[in-house]
Amino acid sequence: MSSPHPSAPPTIPVLGPGHNYASITDKISDIVLQFRAPIRWFLGFIVGFSLLQGLLLAIYMLLFKGVGVWGINIPVGWGFDIINFVWWIGIGHAGTLISAILLLFRQQWRTSINRAAEAMTLFAVACALLFPIFHTGRPWLAAYWLLPYPNTMGVWPQFRSPLIWDVFAVSTYGTVSALFWFTGLIPDLATMRDRAKSKAGQFIYGALAMGWRGSARHWQIYETAYLILAGLSTPLVLSVHTVVSFDFAVALLPGWHATIFPPYFVAGAIYSGFAMVLTLLIPMRSIYGLQDMITLRHLDNMAKVTLVTGLIVFYGYMMEAFFGWYSANEFERYMIYNRTTGPYWYMYWTLILCNGVMPQLLWFRKIRMNPVILFCISIVVNIGMWLERFVIIVTSLHRDFLPSSWGMYQGSRYDWSFYLGTMGLFLTLFYLFIRVLPMIAIFEMRMLLGGKPADKEAAH
């Protein structure tokens, strides 16, 4: 390791001083096991749960009337459903990046944020999956449209289609994320089982912990399997957004048919995901007083990842514009011209403001260390990434090769209700998660302390 520059600011430790095994265990498990939740937890939960009702209404209307309640039409046949699907899937990627890739790189600062980030991944994937399932209009039939299973009709999916690749990639991603998350939880569920006061708590956590007792032989198997799972998740997460980008890149439409899409989509996914981790964890560490576990160092590092991936995304925008001009193709050129000056010009320039200009603030350490400003930037990034998908999808579709088929698109009230409703589902699930499961990996925090379980407890 190189020594830091003499004028470099002091490094903030990943765990505040004065902690021992018992204090970490108590602090994290008490969030769940103490009877009362803070009032701000209820406020957050109520917001999420209210928005969730909009989702139920939108699904009801969709199933009752059909996809006509959405704003989609020709020429824009893919609207909010694919925009929001890509947005949510992208958000999920940061959780896997933090839990798997940073584990492989032995980045200790991932320890206190990986559990919550993985939960975020799961819930984001759940929200994302609602869109492709419900855009079929008749989701009870979706099984044989999407999944390969032997049926009496003898019909199978078309395996050369990126949409079927997407089914495989996203369902694998959801399953592996859930497995990875649950595996990481087992030792902590054992801790919860032993610390729970109520019979019901002991029974439920006990059943989920499956008899974990911390045996050295089990740890040996467990750690190997966990590391291999991380190694499997790493190419998986990169493949998922690559495949999502194939949904567009394999098509021949100007604005979609671009070889830069896979890396640029993956970077965008990590960018929006880290922003969402910041959006969730900055209020959370304040509600539960976790500033000594989710320190400014964590926020600083996450902001740096956001900045780097944001620059890659911005490079992607510039290259799209450059390719449009350099292709010398009439339709490619018109696509860029229409994007920047056409009827959706304000979407494009707001996107550049959100994803190109605002992240430049993260060059400054003072801003990276300021949770309030960082929270605001993370919201801006989330909006920017939604706009990115809107711009890519809608502005490419609404004016294609024949001017006679041009049209405009906007989301209907049920589109918005569905979209905001998935945010409600996401928030509801996340707030329930922090209420019933330890949101920081307790056993990994113990590892940060090294081998001395302190001494205060052991002495009496």
Binding site: P148, F159, T183, G214, A216, R217, F443, M447, P453
Partner: protein, 192 residues
């Protein structure tokens, strides 16, 4: 020896993971074979100190991944190549070859993605199911939980070493002396 019959074993508590590792190593060198250490977090070198070197999970995951790759590729080849009707007792396994613009029925570059995903999926499921199976989970009962001290501290900060009475070298008095001599801060009986 009559005293041993109602015991599952003896459990000693240590105050640092270094002490636990050296104690485990020592007990292993003394010739004990049925020993286990119980810690609230992984302690590197601990299983190795007791002579445990379990590498089955790696092989299981590899086998799972290869099975997944074969399944994913096999599924796509089957669907695209088997044109006749295959009815196995009510399960229809006929394929559905699609000629898309004259592209080959076996379009391997396009088949990479689903085959890759099933590889990862099968490997990951094997990793989790295999870990649970090798650990013997779910396990509703285990005698170590009869030790009150372990129930209280085992999942917080207690570092324990357990010697089973089944061990051929086990002798309640002598094993207790050995554990205490290794610097244990307490030695507890484990009821079966």
């Amino acid at each position: 020896m009559a005293d041993d019959t109602h015991l599952y074993g003896l459990m000693a508590e240590f105050t640092s993971s270094d002490a636990l590792v050296s104690a485990a190593e020592r007990v292993h060198q003394e010739g004990y074979t049925r020993i286990d250490a119980l810690t609230p977090m992984p302690v590197h070198g601990l299983a190795e100190a007791m002579g445990y070197d379990d590498r089955r999970i790696q092989k299981m995951i590899l086998a799972g991944g290869l099975t997944g790759a074969a399944f994913g590729l096999g599924l796509q080849l089957h669907v695209n190549l088997i044109g006749w009707n295959l009815n196995l007792g009510g399960v229809y396994l006929s394929g559905y070859p699609l000629n898309i613009g004259g592209r080959p029925l076996v379009s391997l570059p396009a088949f990479i993605v689903p085959a890759f995903e099933t590889t990862i999926l099968f490997a990951a499921i094997t990793a989790v199911v295999g870990t649970l199976a090798l650990c013997g989970f779910p396990q509703p009962y285990h005698p170590v939980f009869n030790v009150k001290r372990f129930r209280e501290r085992g999942a917080v900060d207690g570092l324990f070493l357990c010697v089973e009475a089944e061990d051929p070298k086990f002798d309640a008095a002598r094993t207790r002396d050995l554990l205490q001599g290794l610097g244990a801060r307490g030695v507890y009986d484990v009821e079966p």
